[in-house]
């Protein structure tokens, strides 16, 4: 039997090393999830923005003001899908808290594919906490439109007119990030923001009370699930960071020796 050489099996444009990294990280994530299923627990650093969500919901209830949540606008079929998914993950947490404290939750968004999911998540939050009477499908989840600034103009109007007590924005955001955050500031809402779109992170970090920086939104999604094996998968992310640090240090050591790690990584 003839074996094909590796470079003919793996797309050279995609990269063999990329595939190796992908498989390695998936396996390590899987390994830690299995360990967790067997009963191992891992300490997880607290993410302050995540802890603050409960306070945000509770405070709005005290003030008699609604909680505003948004995951942004756009289509979930693009490469930003993971961020929408993370946004949905945190929404489950917020919806359950809204049910627990009896808060009025208003979710605005512009993701047409996710309408069904968002409706259901909000419903589930109220029903699972035994407050079905608070659920109003039309009021709680509002699809605006998937046109960027039409979504933004309506979302900022909702925040101000409904006088949101808490404003939680998690998802991929573009220029509208600051519009949403400043609208929250205008009504003095308790603000929690998070995005993995790097150029928009500053606006949330600097304007909001608490912010998820980059990958923290993915970790928050895992935390929201409350499932221990799911939480353990975060350790896979850490393995990836250790790998990156090792690669950087190794590459820097090899560089004066005349070995360019960069070219090997591009294989």
């Amino acid at each position: 039997m003839n074996y094909l050489p590796v470079e003919q099996v793996i797309n050279p444009a995609a990269g063999t090393v990329s595939l190796a990294i992908l498989i390695f990280l998936s396996l390590s994530g899987y390994y830690y999830m299995k360990l967790a299923e067997k009963g191992r627990t891992f300490p997880v650093r607290k993410i302050r923005a995540f802890e603050a969500i409960e306070e945000a919901v509770a405070r709005s209830v005290e003030m008699g003001r609604p909680v505003h949540y948004t995951i942004g606008y756009g289509s979930i079929r693009t490469a930003h899908a993971p961020q929408y998914t993370a946004g949905l993950g945190v929404l489950t947490h917020v919806a359950r808290l809204a049910g627990k404290y009896g808060a009025r939750l208003i979710v605005t968004h512009g993701v047409p594919e996710a309408i069904a999911s968002i409706d259901e998540i909000v419903r589930d939050g109220y029903f699972s906490e035994g407050r079905p009477e608070l659920y109003n499908p039309v009021d709680n989840a509002r699809y605006l439109t998937d046109v960027q600034f039409a979504y933004a103009s309506s979302a900022q109007a909702v925040i101000i007119r409904e006088n949101a007590g808490a404003n939680i924005v998690i998802g991929p955001f573009w220029a509208e990030s600051l519009i949403l955050a400043e609208a929250g500031t205008m009504v003095g809402a308790f603000q929690i923001g998070g995005t993995a779109r790097d150029v928009q992170i500053p606006f949330f970090v600097l304007v909001c009370d608490y912010a998820f920086i980059g990958e923290e939104i993915f970790a928050a999604g895992a935390m929201a699930s409350g499932d221990i094996p799911t939480l353990a998968s975060i350790r896979g992310q850490d393995v990836g960071k250790l790998l990156s640090i090792i690669l950087i240090v190794l590459g820097l050591i090899l560089l004066p020796l005349g070995v360019k790690l960069a070219t090997y990584l591009m294989w």
């Binding site: 793996i10 929404l91 309408i115 699972s128 975060i234």
Partner: protein, 222 residues
């Protein structure tokens, strides 16, 4: 049985598409096989485009439904505004259908493009330029030396602002190169780990979807 249809099959579908699309991307074998794989990959993406287009139509229905419900609630203040939204939406859709029926490219359909150019473009640009106010007040509140990190933030912010204008150049010509240094060295370095982390988060999230552990997108837990 119904749990299988309700939960297991959608989850499996997601897992399979994820694995298959990853395989289609990395596999090569030879040129003809690669072409076939690319075709399948394109096919899946095309499917998602059609599904997304259908979803946008559902979204339009949902928006109209929301505004109809506001009208039904008889909130006197809101009724005229909701009417405007619904009417404009319906008018656009009618002209869109008209364009499709006559085979005219949609943005050259005169009425559709009139609404686009005269109602949507100015409001959209105005919404974008409203950011100038927000970024100004955000800067005013942020650049305040409350503690050491905030002092650093203030210094960096002021240098960048001065480096960007002829005002800064008039005060001291060195502001521009200093700003360029900030933007290329510490600024670039500060974002790099964030980008790495986002990639790792994406990979692990994909893994969770494949292992059917990430199920929040399904909504209800049954």
């Amino acid at each position: 049985m119904s749990v299988v249809w309700r939960r297991t099959i959608p989850q499996l579908l997601v897992a399979i598409i994820l694995v298959v699309m990853t395989a289609l991307y990395f596999l090569y074998i030879d040129k003809t096989t690669k072409a076939t794989l690319n075709y399948w990959d394109g096919l899946l993406i095309n499917y998602s485009i059609v599904i997304a287009a259908m979803a946008a139509i559902v979204g339009g229905v949902d928006l109209a439904r929301y505004h109809v419900s506001l009208i039904m609630k008889r909130e006197r203040e809101q009724i005229p505004f909701s009417l405007i939204t619904i009417i404009l939406e319906v008018v656009c859709v009618i002209f869109a259908f008209y364009a499709l029926a006559t085979g005219v490219p949609i943005l050259t359909q005169p009425q559709f493009s009139w609404i686009y150019l005269n109602l949507q473009v100015p409001t959209s640009s105005a919404m974008y330029s409203i950011l100038v106010f927000y970024v100004a007040s955000a800067a005013y509140r942020t650049f305040r030396a409350r503690n050491p990190p905030a002092l650093l933030l203030l210094i960096v912010g002021v240098i960048v602002m001065l480096g960007n204008t002829s005002l800064g150049f008039a005060i001291w010509p060195g502001f521009t190169p200093l700003k360029d240094w900030i933007m290329t060295v510490p600024n670039a370095a500060g974002y790099r780990p964030i980008v790495i982390g986002v990639g790792l988060g994406t990979i692990i999230l994909g893994l969770r979807l494949i292992l059917r552990k990430e199920v929040t997108w399904m909504g209800r837990r049954d």
